[in-house]
C-alpha cells in the first residue's frame, strides 16, 4: 500500500475518500474481479436456493431412465441410478461452499494469530513456532486428512478442521512478514512508549494495518480450499453420500467414462473448475485493488 506515498499532486483528491471506499471503487472497476465475483455469486445462489429452481429432486432415483444422455428433459443427462445430473450439479455446490469458506476462515483466524505472535515477538517464540509450522507444512494434506479421519471419523467438521489447520501455517507466514515490516514503524514505538500491552499493540495497533495482505491471502486460500475439499471428497475422506457434492459425484461416476457416459462426470468437473476460477479471478481483483 505504498501507493499512498506518491508525490503526484494528482493523487490529492482520491486520497480524500476513505481507504475502504477507495478499494471498493477500484474493485468495481476491475473487470477481473467483476467476472470472478459473478461466477462465485452464481454458485452461492445455487447453494442457497438451488433446490427451489432445480428441475428435479437431486436425490430422487429413476432407475428406468438411468444413464440417459443429455436431452431436453435432462439437460445434463442422468447418472447410474437415474438422478438428474443438472439438478445435482446445482445443489451440489452447497456442501463445498459451506466447508471451504469455513475452513478458510479457520485458517485465517489461526494463521493471523500465529503470524502476529511470531512476527511481533520474534526471537525464541518465532524460531520455535516457525519451525513447527514449517514441519507442519511439509506434511501433505491427504495424509493429515487420513489420520484425522481415523481419529475423528468422517464429518464436515473434520474436513473443515483438517483443511483449516493445514492452511493456517501458510497464512501465518504471510501475516508474519507483514508484521515484520509494520513493527518497524514508529507508531509501534509510540505504543511501547505508552506501556501498551503486547496484545493491544498486536491486535489494535498492527492488525488493522495488515488487513489488506490478509484479505488477499484469504481469497487466494479459498480457491485452494475448494480444490482441497473436492479432492478429499473424491478420495472418500471428505463429504459423504448421499450429498450431491461435485467431488463425490465424480468419484462415484468416473468409472463410467470408459463406457462413454461422459456426462456423469464432465459437468461436475466443470462446476469445480468454474468455482475455482471464479474465486481466483476475484482474488486477483482484490490483490490488484489493494496494490494499485
Amino acid at each position: 500500500m505504498s501507493a499512498v506515498q506518491t508525490t503526484s499532486p494528482a493523487q490529492d483528491d482520491t486520497r480524500r475518500r476513505g481507504p475502504l471506499a477507495e478499494v471498493l471503487f477500484s474493485l468495481l472497476r476491475s473487470r477481473t474481479f467483476l467476472v470472478g465475483i459473478a461466477i462465485v455469486l452464481f454458485w452461492v445462489v445455487c447453494a442457497l436456493f438451488g433446490e427451489h429452481f432445480a428441475p428435479y429432486d437431486p436425490l430422487a432415483d429413476d432407475i428406468i431412465n438411468a444413464l440417459a444422455p443429455p436431452s431436453g428433459e435432462h439437460w445434463f443427462g442422468t447418472d447410474q441410478i437415474g438422478r438428474d445430473v443438472f439438478s445435482r450439479v446445482i445443489v451440489g455446490s452447497r456442501d463445498i461452499l459451506t466447508v471451504a469458506p469455513l475452513a478458510t476462515l479457520l485458517a485465517t483466524v489461526a494463521g493471523t494469530a500465529l503470524g502476529l505472535t511470531t512476527g511481533y515477538f520474534r526471537g525464541l517464540v518465532d524460531d520455535v513456532v516457525s519451525r513447527i509450522l514449517e514441519a507442519f507444512m511439509a506434511i501433505p494434506v491427504v495424509i493429515v486428512a487420513l489420520l484425522a479421519i481415523v481419529a475423528l471419523g468422517t464429518s464436515k467438521t473434520t474436513v473443515i478442521v483438517v483443511i483449516g489447520l493445514s492452511f493456517a501455517p501458510i497464512i501465518a507466514r504471510t501475516v508474519r512478514s507483514a508484521v515484520l515490516a509494520e513493527r518497524e514503524l514508529d507508531y509501534v514505538a509510540a505504543a511501547q512508549l505508552r506501556h501498551e500491552s503486547a496484545f493491544h499493540t498486536m491486535f489494535v495497533e498492527i492488525l488493522p494495518n495488515i488487513i489488506p495482505p490478509i484479505l488477499v491471502e484469504t481469497t487466494v486460500r479459498l480457491g485452494y480450499a475448494i480444490f482441497a475439499v473436492a479432492t478429499l471428497s473424491f478420495m472418500g475422506f471428505g463429504i459423504q453420500p448421499p450429498s450431491p457434492d461435485w467431488g463425490l459425484s465424480i468419484s462415484s461416476n468416473y468409472g463410467m467414462i470408459g463406457g462413454g457416459f461422459w456426462w456423469t462426470v464432465l459437468f461436475d468437473a466443470l462446476a469445480i473448475a468454474s468455482l475455482v476460477i471464479g474465486v481466483n479471478l476475484a482474488a486477483d481483483g482484490v490483490h490488484g485493488a489493494f496494490n494499485d
Binding site: 483528491d13 486520497r15 512508549l193 494495518n209
Partner: protein, 690 residues
C-alpha cells in the same frame, strides 16, 4: 564542446539569441476523478543560454510538474492544456514520438531528488554509464573511456573501481555524483535539477552544490534548478522564479528578489526562515496563515489573496498582471497590485515573546557514560560512545552531526526503545532509569516522549485522530470519560488544531497538521522531556515555522525540556539552549548554543557550519570535508575525526584520542588543538575571507 545533435524539424527563429528554454503561457492539468484540475496556470519563463534559473515555492506549487512538462514527461493523467514550450528554439509540442525521444536523449537531462531510486540497483555503475554512450553510437572501449572521463569530471576519485560497484555500495553523495555524471554524459544543452540535494547531509549537500557550481564553469548547459530551499537557490542561480499555485508570482535576479522581494508571498516565505542566528527567546518566526489552494481550485483574483494581509477587494476579484519592475539591477516581475508595499506585509504571528528569566534549577536529565555497541557481522559497532551530559528543565539540547553520527541511537537509548550497554546511567529527576522500557515505571515512561521525523510512520494510519489522542490521554494521563474529553479539547487547541480534525484519519491531513497531532500525542501526559527527531525536515518552510513556534510556545508554557535532533543548523540554533555535536557516536563539542555557533569551535563543527548554504551571504569559501564519515565498525585511531580534519596538527591526532576538555565554563571541545589556538586559527580564517 560539441554542439548537441538537433532533432529534425528544428525551427530556428532568431538563431543568434536563442533561449535555452522558453515557456509561454504553459498550462498543465491533471485529470483526477473525471475532472481536469489545473496545476500550472499560464506559466511563462525564459532561461537564457548558460543561465541557471531557480524555481522555488512550497510543495504542491507545480515546480516538478513544470520540469516534467518541459520534456513532455507528465504522468499519464497529466496533459498540457495550452501554451508553448521551446527547447533551444525547438517547439517541443510539435515533436513526434521519435523526435521527442531524441530530444530527451540528446539535449535535456534530469537529475532527481533521490539518487538511490534514479540508479538501477542491479546494474553496475559502469554498465549504466556506458549504456548512455552506446545509445549515442559509441561502443566498447571508447564508451568505457568516456564513462571514466565523466566520473572524473564529477570529481570521483578512482573511477575504475567505482564503475565496478553497484549503486548500494556508494554513499548518497557519490550516488548523486554518478546521477549527475549520467545527466551530463550526452552533453545536454539543458540540465534540469529537481531538488538534487534534498535528503543529503549538509556536508554532502555542500559537496554536490560545489560540484554543480564548478561544472557550470566548464559546461555550456543551462540549468533549471528546482528547490524548496531558498538558501540553496540563492547560492546556485542567476535568476529565480517564485511559483505559487501554478502561477509565477515573482521573478528576477536571485540577489535582488531575496533581498528586496516585491511579492507578499516571497516576503512571507523569507520571513519563515530562522535567519542570522535568530533564537526562540528573541521572538517567534513569522508564518503564512491558511493553506495553498488545492489543485484545480478555481482561482479568481490573486491566488495568494486568502493568505495575504495586504489583500483588498480588488485582489480577490481581479487577477493581478505581472508588473514589470525592471530597474538597473535587472529585469524583474511581480504579480501583485501592491508590489510597492509588499515588504510592509504585516506579520501573521506576533514576534514578541515574554520570557521570564529562568531560575537555575537542578537538571531534569543526567546522562553519564552512556554506550551502545551493536554487533555487525561479529564486529562490535560502537554507535554511541561514552556520552555524558545533562539537561535542565525548560532547556533545549540540540543534537547535530551527519547521518550515522549516532544522534537517533542516542535518543532511542534515552527513551528505552534500545537498551544501552551496561555501565552507563540515565537519571531522570534524580532517579536512575531502568535500561529497558518494560522495566521503567509508568510515570517515568510518560515523562519522556518523542516526536518522530515522519508522521506517516508515527501515526497509526488505521486510527482516527480522536482515537490516537484519546488513547494517549488514557494511557499517559490516566484520564477517562468526561475528564478525558475536556483534556482532549485543551490538547487539540494547544497545538492549534480544531474539533473538525478529530474525526479524520492521518492520511486526510497535511504533513504539518499530522506533525501537530504527533506533538499533541507527545504532550498528552505532561512530559518532562520530549525528544524531537527531525520533526520539521519533511515540512515546507512556512509549516516548519509554525511547528517551531508551537514547540517554543509549548516549552515556555509547560517548562518542558527538548532534545532536538536536526540536520538544519538554522533550526537547531533557533530552538536550542545547548548543543552537542556528535561524530561517530562521540560528543566532539558540547556547550551553550551561542558559544558553539559563534566559536571558537571544534574543527568538525566549523566544517558543519560552513557547509550550510546561507541566504545572507553568497560565495563564501567552504571548508570541505574530504571523503565520507568512516565506518563505526572500524573507526580511525586516535581522534576519530583525523581522517577528514582540515586542521589536523600531526601524528598525535592519529595516535591519541583527545579528551572532551572544558575550554570555557560549560563549553567542552574534544580536540588536541588548545582552545586559544583554535580561536586564533578560526579568526584568521574569517579574516582571510573578508
Amino acid at each position: 564542446m560539441t554542439e548537441p545533435v538537433k532533432a529534425r524539424g528544428t525551427k530556428a527563429e532568431s538563431a543568434g539569441t536563442r533561449n535555452a528554454l522558453e515557456l509561454r503561457d504553459l498550462s498543465v492539468a491533471y485529470r483526477v476523478a473525471g475532472r481536469n484540475r489545473a496545476v500550472l496556470r499560464n506559466l511563462s519563463l525564459t532561461i537564457g543560454q548558460g543561465e541557471a534559473y531557480g524555481l522555488v515555492g512550497e510543495s504542491g506549487c507545480g515546480k516538478s510538474t513544470a520540469a516534467l512538462a518541459v520534456v513532455r514527461y507528465l504522468p499519464r493523467n497529466g496533459s498540457i492544456a495550452g501554451g508553448a514550450i521551446a527547447l533551444d528554439g525547438q517547439d517541443v509540442m510539435k515533436l513526434d514520438a521519435e523526435a521527442l525521444r531524441r530530444a530527451r536523449a540528446t539535449s535535456v537531462s534530469m537529475v532527481y531528488q533521490d539518487p538511490g531510486k534514479a540508479l538501477n540497483p542491479s546494474i553496475r555503475i559502469g554498465r549504466q554509464l556506458t549504456e548512455i554512450f552506446e545509445l549515442a553510437g559509441i561502443a566498447g572501449q571508447a564508451a568505457t573511456e568516456r564513462a571514466t572521463a565523466m566520473l572524473n569530471r564529477v570529481r570521483i576519485s578512482d573511477p575504475p573501481s567505482v564503475m565496478q560497484r553497484y549503486p548500494h555500495q556508494l554513499s548518497g553523495g557519490m550516488q548523486q555524483r554518478v546521477a549527475i555524471a549520467m545527466a551530463l554524459a550526452n552533453d545536454p544543452s539543458m540540465l534540469i535539477l529537481d531538488e538534487p540535494t534534498t535528503g543529503l547531509d549538509a556536508t554532502v549537500e555542500a559537496e554536490v552544490l560545489d560540484l554543480i557550481a564548478q561544472l557550470r564553469q566548464e559546461l555550456s548547459a543551462s540549468i533549471l534548478f528546482i528547490s524548496h530551499n531558498l538558501a540553496v537557490v540563492s547560492n546556485m542561480c542567476d535568476r529565480v522564479g517564485v511559483l505559487y499555485a501554478g502561477m509565477l508570482v515573482e521573478e528576477g535576479p536571485t540577489e535582488v528578489v531575496f533581498n528586496d522581494p516585491r511579492h507578499p508571498y516571497t516576503v512571507a516565505l523569507l520571513r519563515c526562515l530562522p535567519r542570522g542566528g535568530q533564537r526562540k527567546d528573541q521572538g517567534r518566526l513569522d508564518t503564512i496563515p491558511g493553506f495553498l489552494p488545492g489543485i484545480g481550485a478555481t482561482i479568481r483574483g490573486c491566488a495568494f489573496a486568502d493568505r495575504c494581509a495586504l489583500a483588498d477587494e480588488r485582489c480577490r476579484t481581479e487577477l493581478p498582471p505581472l508588473y514589470d519592475l525592471s530597474d538597473e539591477r535587472g529585469t524583474r516581475l511581480s504579480r501583485c497590485f501592491h508590489h510597492d508595499k509588499a515588504q510592509a506585509l504585516p506579520r501573521a504571528t506576533p514576534a514578541d515573546v515574554a520570557l521570564p528569566p529562568k531560575p537555575v534549577t537542578a537538571p531534569v536529565l543526567r546522562v553519564a557514560g552512556l554506550n551502545k555497541t551493536y554487533a555487525s557481522h561479529g564486529h562490535p559497532l560502537r554507535a554511541v560512545k561514552d556520552v555524558s551530559l545533562d539537561l535542565r528543565p525548560g532547556e533545549t539540547l540540540g543534537l547535530v552531526g551527519e547521518s550515522g553520527s549516532g544522534k537517533t541511537t542516542f535518543a532511542r537509548l534515552l527513551l528505552g526503545l534500545v537498551p544501552p550497554d551496561e555501565g552507563g546511567t540515565i537519571e531522570l529527576e534524580g532517579k536512575t532509569l531502568a535500561p529497558k522500557l518494560e522495566n521503567r515505571g509508568d510515570d517515568q515512561v510518560k515523562a519522556m516522549q518523542i516526536v518522530f521525523q515522519n508522521p506517516d510512520s508515527a501515526l497509526n494510519r488505521s486510527h482516527s485522530i480522536r482515537h490516537i489522542l484519546g488513547r494517549a490521554l488514557k494511557r499517559l494521563a490516566g484520564l477517562s470519560g468526561k475528564a478525558r474529553e475536556a483534556r482532549l479539547e485543551d490538547l487539540v487547541r494547544a497545538v492549534r488544531l480544531t474539533d473538525r480534525h478529530l474525526a479524520v484519519k492521518p492520511r486526510q491531513l497535511s504533513g504539518g497538521l499530522k506533525q501537530r497531532v504527533a506533538i499533541a500525542r507527545a504532550f498528552a501526559g505532561d512530559p518532562r522531556i520530549v525528544v524531537c527527531d527531525e520533526p520539521t525536515s519533511a515540512l515546507d518552510v512556512s509549516v516548519q515555522a509554525a511547528i517551531l513556534n508551537l514547540l517554543a510556545d509549548l516549552q515556555a508554557k509547560e517548562d518542558v525540556s527538548y532534545i532536538f535532533i536536526s540536520h538544519d543548523l538554522g533550526v537547531v540554533r533557533y530552538l536550542s539552549d545547548k548543543i552537542a555535536v556528535l561524530y561517530l557516536g562521540r560528543i566532539m563539542e558540547l556547550g551553550p548554543s551561542e558559544a558553539v555557533f559563534s566559536g571558537p569551535h571544534h574543527p568538525y563543527t566549523e566544517a558543519l557550519l560552513s557547509a550550510v548554504p546561507k541566504l545572507d551571504q553568497s560565495g563564501t569559501a567552504r571548508i570541505r570535508l574530504d571523503g565520507e564519515i568512516p565506518s563505526a565498525v572500524n573507526p580511525p585511531s586516535g581522534c576519530v575525526f583525523h581522517t577528514r580534519c582540515p586542521r589536523k596538527i600531526g601524528p598525535i591526532c592519529e595516535q591519541q584520542e583527545p579528551q572532551l576538555a572544558e575550554a570555557q565554563p560549560g563549553h567542552s571541545i574534544r580536540c588536541h588543538i588548545p582552545y586559544a589556538e583554535l580561536a586564533r586559527l578560526q579568526k584568521a580564517a574569517l579574516a582571510e575571507l573578508a
